[in-house]
């Protein structure tokens, strides 16, 4: 069966510091991968998605970036965090039309 991991689970970072969130999927190959953000009390915002290694589509221009160095690894990064980057970050994978979500990372920028 397929499993999706995200780490860390929680993170508190000061404004201006770098960010690296990692997502890995087990039990499948060549999945589509997605990064979403949920601000407090709000819906899902798609940030990036990838249909293959090195292929990244950006949905929202901002100070975040994504990379897919391996087939089942998806990384979300920032060089300098802003207060507005706080939120709940979710990674998801799909092989058909439905998506399957990881447990999320709670990021607080102080």
């Amino acid at each position: 069966s397929q499993t999706i991991h995200q780490w860390p689970a929680t993170l508190v970072q000061p404004v201006g510091s770098p960010l690296s969130l990692e997502c890995t999927v087990e039990g499948t190959s060549n999945p589509n991968l997605y990064w979403y953000r949920q601000a407090a009390g709000r819906g899902l915002q798609l940030l990036f998605y990838s249909v293959g290694i090195g292929q990244i589509s950006s949905e929202v221009p901002q100070n975040l970036s994504a990379s897919r160095p391996q087939d089942r690894q998806f990384i979300l990064s920032s060089k300098k965090l802003l207060l507005s980057d706080s939120g709940f970050y979710l990674c998801a994978w799909s092989w058909g039309y439905e998506q399957y979500f990881g447990p999320g990372t709670r990021l607080t920028v102080t």
């Binding site: 819906g43 998605y49 249909v51 998801a92």
Partner: protein
């Protein structure tokens, strides 16, 4: 472009009462529809999906949804809710060949004893 409207941002119901969470979509082509549940501080879990076939779809935890093409709706129902159903519920839509889901803004279901 596709869009999804969840008509109620919050729905309070009493335990063991029936519930309906409403979802309407707009699309000019055939669609695939989904309902997800999110418990506090967790990721989203797929409740059920409509891809084709029977318009009445049964999912996990006793939930079901009915695809109504003429009404462009995909409402979620449960005949008797439990305290454990307290969560945020998201409706989502996509179309053939699309790589992304379009999500509604979510409905917060609160079950009162």
């Amino acid at each position: 472009a596709q869009s999804v409207t969840q008509l109620d941002s919050q729905v309070p119901v009493f335990e063991e009462a029936p519930v309906e969470l409403r979802c309407n979509y707009s699309s000019s082509v055939s669609v695939y529809l989904f309902w997800y549940v999110q418990y506090p501080n967790q990721g989203l879990q797929l409740l059920l999906k409509y891809l084709s076939g029977s318009t009445l779809v049964k999912g996990i935890n006793g939930f079901e949804a009915e695809f109504n093409k003429s009404q462009t709706s995909f409402h979620l129902r449960k005949p008797s809710v439990h305290i454990s159903d307290t969560a945020e519920y998201f409706c989502a839509v996509t179309r053939r060949g699309a790589q992304k889901l379009v999500f509604g803004q979510g409905t917060r279901l609160t079950i009162n004893p």
